[in-house]
Symmetry: C2
Subunit: 414 residues, 2 copies
Amino acid sequence: MLSAEIIAIGSELLTPERSDTNSLWLTQKLNDIGIEVKLKTIVGDDEARLEETIRDAVKRSDIVITTGGLGPTEDDLTRQVSARALNKTLEYHNDLEVHLRARFRAWGREMPEINKRQAYIIEGADILPNPNGSAVGMYLSVDGKHIAIFPGPPREMQPMFENHVFDRLKVAAGDVIVKRRVLKISGMGESAVDEAIAPIYVTYPDVQTSILFNKSEVEAHLWLRSEDSIQADATLEEIAQKIVGKLGTAVFSIQGESMEEVVGRLLKKRGETLSVAESCTGGLIGSRLTDVPGSSAYFIEGVVSYSNTAKMRTLNVPEATLQEFGAVSAETAAAMAEGMRDAAKTDHSISVTGIAGPDGGSDEKPVGTVFVGYANGGRSKTMKIVLPGDRYLIRWRASQAALDYLRRQLLKAT
Amino acid sequence: MLSAEIIAIGSELLTPERSDTNSLWLTQKLNDIGIEVKLKTIVGDDEARLEETIRDAVKRSDIVITTGGLGPTEDDLTRQVSARALNKTLEYHNDLEVHLRARFRAWGREMPEINKRQAYIIEGADILPNPNGSAVGMYLSVDGKHIAIFPGPPREMQPMFENHVFDRLKVAAGDVIVKRRVLKISGMGESAVDEAIAPIYVTYPDVQTSILFNKSEVEAHLWLRSEDSIQADATLEEIAQKIVGKLGTAVFSIQGESMEEVVGRLLKKRGETLSVAESCTGGLIGSRLTDVPGSSAYFIEGVVSYSNTAKMRTLNVPEATLQEFGAVSAETAAAMAEGMRDAAKTDHSISVTGIAGPDGGSDEKPVGTVFVGYANGGRSKTMKIVLPGDRYLIRWRASQAALDYLRRQLLKAT
C-alpha cells in the first residue's frame, strides 16, 4: 500500500486561529483509493524548515502533496524551495505569463509585475491548470515518488486535485480500494458501545474498527482494504446489520448521516410535517433541520420562545404552569410542544426548555437540566435529561436529544 | 525569540474525520509569552516516523511539545520512542504504579496489568501529574532544549501545561511578551480592507499585520513582540483607532468579538429588546444570538416561518404580499419584521427571507438572493443582497448580514 505525506505551507496556519483543513479533504480522497496518509506537516514561510520538510517527505513516503505558498509575493516560497529540495531548477514559461496577463485584463486590471513569479515551473513538472485562481499547480514523478504541488485555497486546490491528480494516483495505487462505513449511535457511551459490538467486529480481522465519541453521539468507523469492491461493500453491510441487530434503534445511521438528515428522511417518507418550539437551544434545532436541502417539504415552523411572555403568547403555555412548575419543567415542555402543534397544525411537534448556563442553575435544577417535549395529534410526552458540558455543548446535546426523541417516536409509530 | 514545534501523535489524527486541535490552544499560550510556533507535525502510531520527527524537532527548535500516545496500549508509542529519539532510557517508577492502582480502586476497578506501562518515565524527566487521567506527562531540559510530553485529551493536557510547564517556558522566553488584537470588518472585501489600512500599518514596522477573510467578514490581525506590555497595548490601541477612523462603522469589533456579541452588547447597553423572524436561515440567527450567555436580557422571541402558512399565521404577512411579490422579496421581508415586532412588542425586529439553494433559484432570483428586513417602533426598511457560496455559506452569510444590518441601525439611532 502506498504511503502519503501532506505538507501545508503558510505562516497563517501556525497561528492560534487557523488550522489546515485541506489535509482532511485530501486524506478522504487518498483513503478512497487505498493510500494511507502517514504524516502531516504544517510549516510556515520559512525556507530552511520547508526545504527540510520536503526533502524528508520525499525520502520517507511514496506520495507527497503540498498546499499553499504559490502566491505572487515574497512570502510565497513553495516554488523555489520545493525545486531546491528536489534538486531541480525553475523554468520560466512564457505561455503562462501570457495567460496570466489575459486573466488580469479580463478582470479589468493590468497584471502586477510581481505575478510574473507565477510563470515559473519546476523543470520536468506537469502544469496543473487552476481555473479559480492565478497560481497553477505542478505534478512530478521522481524516482518512483509522486509529488503534487497545489495552491492553498480549497476551492482552487480541490478541482485541481480531482481533475488532474486523482487518476494518476489511482493508477499508482493499483486495484486496492478502501471502503468505509460510519455508524452513528445515540444514547450510549463509547465503552458501552464497544463492549456490545466488539464480539461482532473481532470476527472480521480484515476490517479496521474504531469507536469515537463525537459531541453527542458515538461513531463506529469501519474500513476495509480490498481488491473486490462489491465483496467489501457486502462485508461492511453485514457488519452494520449485525450491529443494528445488537443495538437496535440506538443506531440512528448506518451511512454516516446526521441526525437531522435521518429525521428528515423519516418525515419525508411518511409525508408528515414538523414544528419546533425552542427555548434554551435558541433556534439551533430549526437551524439544523433546515440545513438539510429540501427540508421545506416537512419543516413548517419554529418558535424560539426565549422569554416567558413568548411562551405564553405564541405557544399558549398557561401562566399557571410557568408559575407552578417553572419555565424549565416537564409541564412547560409539554405545553410548548402542544401549543406549537396546535398553532402550526403539524403532525409532530418537539420542544426543548432547559438551563444552558453558565448561570441560572440551582440545586434542584443544575446547569444542564433539559426537558424535551413531543406532541402529535393525540398526545404529548416529555423526557428529562441532565447534560454535561459548557453552554455550547449543552445546547448542541439538547438539540440532538430532541431530534433523537422525535426519531424514536417516529420509529415507534411505524 | 524562542522557536517551538508541536507534534500531535496518533493514527486517528490522520483520518479524514479528525484533526489536531491541541496545537491551536498551545500556540495561543506560546504566542502569549513570545514563543513562535515554527512547525507542526501530525504523526501516526508509527515508530520510525515518530522517532525521526522527534529527533528532527529537537535539532531544529528550542521547544518541542508532543501530545498523545501515552495510553496503556500497544499503539501508544510516545514513551519508548521519545526516549530513544532523545538517547535516553525509560525508568520504572514504583510510586506511579502504586498511585495508578489506587486510582483504579477508587473507580471500583482493579488496574489492568497493561496500565503498568504508564509507570515508565524517561530518565531525568520531571513527572507532570495528570489529575484528569491515568497518563502522566514528562518535562525535560536537554542541551538547552525544552521537551514537554503530554497525553492527547485536551482536558488532561491543558491543566498540565498551565500548572507545570507554562511558567518554565515563560522564564526561558525571557521578558518578551506578545500582544495581539483582532479587528473584524463587515461589508468590505479582503483587498479593499488591505488597500485602505496598509498606509496605517506600514508606519508601525514592529507590528505584524495580516488580513484574512473568514466566511462572512474580514479580520485584521495585529501582533507585536515587546518587553513593555503597557506600551504594546497602547500601540495596538492606537492602530485600532486609526483603522476605525479610516473604515468607520465597517469595523464591528476591535477586540475580536463575534457579531452576535457586538449586537448583544449594544442592545444591553441601551436596555432594548429584539425579536427575529427567519425563513431561509431556519433559526440560525436565534441560535447565534442565544449562544451568548446573558442573551435573555434582550432576546425575547424568534419565529422560523419556513412555510408561507407560518408567515401568514404567526407573522401576519398578508397573503396578497406573498402572492404578488413572492416569499423572497423586500415586501415580505418588511412584513415579516413588522409582524414580528408587533407580535413580540420588542424595540427592534429583524427578518431574513432568501434562497439558500441548492434548488429554488430562478433567473430573476438566483440561489443566494436574500432580503433582510428591520423594524422598530416607527418604521421598517429592507436590504437586498446576493450571496455567493453553498447552502451552508449562504445561510451563514445571510445570518451575518441580518445581524450587521441591525448593528448599523442601532449605531445610527445612537
